[in-house]
Every structure is written in C-alpha cells, then in structure tokens.
Subunit: 362 residues, 2 copies
C-alpha cells in the first residue's frame, strides 16, 4: 500500500488500479510526447484516435466481440441509458419486458413509462425485499427486448447465470460488474455500463450494441439521443469525454496485462468475495442480506446486530485505513464493494478487521 | 514554459492553466487527504460536496448571480443542450427565435426542428459566409426565448454586445467565451457552455438558468433531460462527472487568484487578441476572415496567400513549439484559439513567429 492511500471499498466512484493512477499522474503534463495534457489534446488528433480505438479494441478482445458489434462511449451515465433504451427501441406498437431486482431496475422501468412506452414487469424480487434475483422468467411473445440489471449494488445481489430469453435479446445494465467475468455475448442485444465502478471515472458510459439490434433502432430522435449517431461517428459526433475514455483504455490494459482473460479475472473476484462471505457465514455477528444463491461478487452487503455497532464498525474501519464501508443511504447496514480494481490485499485486510471487530464487540 | 510543454492554440479541448494541471497532478493519488484519487472518491462524500459547491460559489461570485439563479453541471456537451433547450422550454403552442451565425447555431436550430418545435430564424449572417454577427434583430412577439451563439469558433466571430431582445430572455451557447468577460446577466434566461474551451476538460457542460425561466420549463420528460431534475438535486440526481467539476473548480480558482474579476480577465484577453490582429492588419500576407466589427477575441482566424503556405505555416509553427493552429476541417485556413488559459507569453511567441514566417515566405 502506497503511503497515504487507503483501502477503498466505495460503491462508485470507486477504486481504480494504482498502476493506472500512477500512469495518469506521470504523464499528466505531457501526454505521449504531445507537449500537452490528455485534458488539452484535440479529440480530432491522431494521438486521441489511438486512445479511443485502442480502448475499443481492448473491449473487443476481452469480450470476443463480433467484428460488426459496436462499442460506444456516451455521456449521462446509466441513468440516461434508462431513457435512451426505450426511446431508441420501442415504437408505438412495440413492447418490452423488464425484470425488477431493485432500485436500478425500478429506475429503468420508470424512464420507459415516463415516455409512455408499453412495457411489462415479467419478474420481480420485491416480494422478498429484493434479496434475490429471479432465476426463471416467462417472456412476452414479440417483446423487443428483456431488460435486466446484472448486479444490484444496493442489495448485493447478482445474476450468476442470465435468464433464458430464447430469441429475444437481453438489454443489460452492467454498470457494476462489467469485465468482472466472461459474458455469453450471444444473448445480448445491448449492454450499457456507467464507468465509475469497474471501468474508469464517472462521466462516461460504455455501450456495446449488436449491429442487428442497432439496425432496428429509431433514427428520428434528437441527434445526441440516437445510438445510431454514436455508431456512425465512432462516438465523436461531438467532443467525447476524453479523460474518461483515456482512463478506461488504461484500466483495460491493466486487466489484460494483469489477468489476461476475463476467466482469470472472474476467478480472482470469486476468491476475493469468498474471503468476505466466509467470515460472514462463519460468524453469528455479521449477517449477509442477500440470499446465498443470489449473492453479488462485487458488493458484499451485511448487517451487524445493531445500527450503533454498524456505525462503530464503519468508523473504526476508517481509522484502520478501510474506507467506504457504509451501506447505501436507502438501506443502511454495511457494504464492501470489491470491484475488479480492489486488490486481494485490501480484501484480506478487511476480512482480518471484521474478525477482530467481532472478537472485540461480538 | 515548462520543459516539454508546447504553446497550445487548440480550439477545444484546449489549453488549461499550467498551475491547475500541476495541482491535479500533485494530488492525483491522494485528494485532500482522503487517501484516494479525486477519480475514486464518492460523489456523496463531504469532500466532493465541497468541490461541487465551491465551483458553484465561484461561478456565482464571478458573474454576480442572484441567489436564486441555478448553476448546473450536465453531461453530453453543448450538443445535448441544443436538444434540451427546446425540449424543456417549447410546448406545442410555444415558439422561439434563433440567430444563425454558423455551424453551432445551425446545429441548435436543427435539434429544435428534429423535435417538431416551432422556431424562427430571425437573423442570419449566411449571406456573407458567416463572417459577421447580426447586430440588430427583430424578435417574434411572444417568443419564449431568443437563442444566440455568443462566439463562433470556426468563423472567428463574436458578439461584443448582445442583441436587444427587450422582455424576451436570451438563451446563449457560450461554450467558447464563458468567463472571458463580464456578462449582462439580466438579459439571459439560460446560458450553457461545454467546458472544454474556457472552463475545464471535455465531458461536462455548465448551465446557468434563472429561477423565473426554469419555472416555465416542462417537467414531464425523461428524468435526465429535465433541467428541473438537475436543479432539484444540485446536479447529483446521478453520479456527476466528478473529475470535470473538480477541474472547473480549480480553473475558476485560478481566474479569481490571477485576475480577480472578469473585467480584468477581459482586458487581458483584449491585449492578447490585439497582438495577433495587429500582426494580421499590418501585413499584406495574412488576411483575417472575420469582419472587423465582429472579430472574436477567442478564435483568431486567418488565411495565408495559398493553401500550401498555410500547410507550411502550421507545420513550421509546430516545429517551433506552437501547436493547434490548423483551421477547422470544414473551412481550412489557420486559427489561433486564445482562450482564458492561453498565456500572453504564448500569444507573443505566436506573433513573433507570424512576423518571422512572413519575412521569410512573404
């Protein structure tokens, strides 16, 4: 651990790989011999083209995309995607299915309905306070897509397998678990992912969209709200969020150089999560909030016997260099977000602290 | 000039103040004793609140805003604002006026029309290839707003005074001259400004909107496309572009500490621009493309006798450490963008190079 750095368990924005931060810092006044900062170079320059296309190429390789799949960078976060997906894919006679696994799914559903689109919630885990993810679903015949939130950061749940939708493409919000594991790309029409958890800084959202799915999209929309604009201009119809894309490129490079493949990334993430769930399951003090078969490998959510103990846990953890452990303001409790960039060392330090805290206070 | 840095005349993204870049670099691994990078801290933390509210407060002071004026940070650049303005302010029975001074105005007009809104182009400088800005206009009675692009980066034109619209609020795209001079705030209903010219990195757009004007805005819109969302949540309905807002805060601090007021900033910018226009006007070799009474203080556009000489000018300038002098790809020629952050020293170096180049090649 570099001096003055803490173990960062923030839910997002969240930890970035230290080698990436160091690289940004080292070249911040002179990017790639340009004599300018990455924040000062033209987005129409060859040097930025190399960054943008480099990042896209890494995404293609890591996920084994088809050559005609599109990788786009859009602003506005996943929250704008909640609106753009139905805006682009649901005409007046179209319908789509949504799976409701909590706050983020609910927001996606709300943004479709605000626009007067016809959608159905075909599955929900609201009956058990979103503590699990529905494993089997029944799709509406003719639905344009089935929308799913792959990982719920607030309730600490995650789909380990994606639901079977047969011919209907999945549209997935993967803001909190992209690149944490391999993906069955043949199932998806579109994937969107706000960067600030597994990918880079806030302010850029990556979208992967299949050409066949994109072809069915509406075009007569405000230019900046049409996926086709971003595809036609390689995300440069207007000035893109250059610093964010640059950071994403470095994070992907770090994944490639450190882990090589998403299979190995996934094994690493499983080991990290197991370390914390083992402490929780071996304890009468900590209680996991997600059901065992739906637990997230990215956000480990748990309660302590009292709220007072939870407050003390978070405060004492911070004193011990472990930050960001407070649960989401909407649910309370504790949460350790252990995205790709959170090192094993940080997770081990947390596991040890949890055991110590239980011994002292339990 | 710090070793390896060049004089940066990019049109956008463009030069940032060197002290700002150095500050970002120095604290990049540990922002304000958080033990985390500014790209890793939570947007819901006290430390980020201080950044966001600090930036807003500086905007308020520099422009002497009223206490109920809103300062918002939105993603998507000015290009998304082209669509959001009519989406928010033009109902089915409303109309608005637009002044067309070139590419950016034309895009704003296009985005209103894509949505089927009723607008009129009440003035245009297209008759003389956008080489001037219309000084007097006649507004449509009952128009909700008059839209104006304060500075045209491509043609090098700028409104020195804003047109008289009487009771109708101006909506202004000030992406390329915000904070370059004081503003008659009483004339404006809304100002928007992509950050990557005078304000910060790409990926964040600042919007200033008067409370009385905002009250008239539509609310039944996708959440991320309603100005009222951003006003109600202090730009934090979802995760904002934290790094961009942080950089903006530092740029505004630099303006306050270096110039104090926008009156002094304006004098400085006038001196910088005069230095280049004096070389051009005193030469039979360089020719300004904008008419004298409409010249921009931010983007000095000029031609040389032949395109071949223009290419050599740009290339030799770069060899001499002067970058970004190629005109916009849509018009050719040369352009020196001398936004707030471009120091007098850089402008003086360019003026000297221009004189030398004329002596050798003229």
């Amino acid at each position: 651990m570099t001096a003055h750095r803490i173990h960062n368990f923030n839910a997002g924005p969240s930890a970035l790989p230290l080698p990436v931060l160091e690289k940004i810092q080292a070249s911040f006044l002179n990017f790639n011999d340009s004599g300018m900062s990455i924040t000062e170079i033209s987005h129409r320059s060859a040097k930025f083209d190399a960054v943008l296309n480099g990042a896209i190429d890494r995404v293609r390789r890591l996920l084994s995309l088809n050559s005609d799949d599109h990788v786009l960078f859009i602003q506005g976060g996943a929250s704008l995607q909640f609106a753009m997906v139905p805006m682009n894919f649901l005409g007046p006679n179209d319908t789509a299915d949504y799976i409701n696994t909590g706050t983020w799914s609910a927001k996606a559903i709300k943004e479709a309905r605000i626009q007067g689109k016809t959608i159905q919630v075909i599955a929900s885990s609201e009956d058990q306070n979103f503590s699990y993810v529905p494993k089997t679903i029944s799709c509406t015949p003719g639905a344009r897509y089935v929308h799913v939130t792959s990982n719920n950061t607030i309730k600490g749940t995650q789909f380990d397998q994606f639901p079977e939708t047969f011919e209907i493409p999945l549209v997935a919000d993967m803001s909190s678990d992209i690149f944490s594991r391999p993906l069955p790309m043949e199932k998806f029409g579109l994937i969107y992912t706000g960067a600030q958890k597994n990918l880079g800084p806030s302010g850029v959202c990556m979208v992967i969209v299949k050409e066949a799915f994109l072809e069915t999209a509406e075009q007569h929309l405000p230019t900046m709200l049409a996926y086709k604009t971003f595809a036609a201009h390689n995300s440069m119809y207007n000035t893109p969020p250059c610093f964010g894309i640059y950071t994403i490129d470095l994070v992907l490079e770090w994944i490639q150089e450190t882990f090589g493949t998403l299979e190995r990334m996934a094994e690493h993430n499983q080991r990290k999560a197991r370390m914390l769930y083992d402490v929780i399951d071996g304890s009468g003090f900590y209680q996991a909030t997600a059901q065992k078969n739906s637990r997230s490998l990215m956000n480990v959510t748990f309660r302590l016997p009292t709220e007072d103990l939870e407050d003390r846990f978070v405060a004492e953890a911070l004193e011990n260099g472990l930050g960001g452990l407070k649960g989401h303001r909407s649910v309370g409790g504790c949460r350790a977000s252990i995205y790709n960039a959170v090192p094993m060392e940080s997770v081990a330090a947390l596991a040890a602290f949890m055991e110590r805290f239980e011994q002292e206070k339990g």
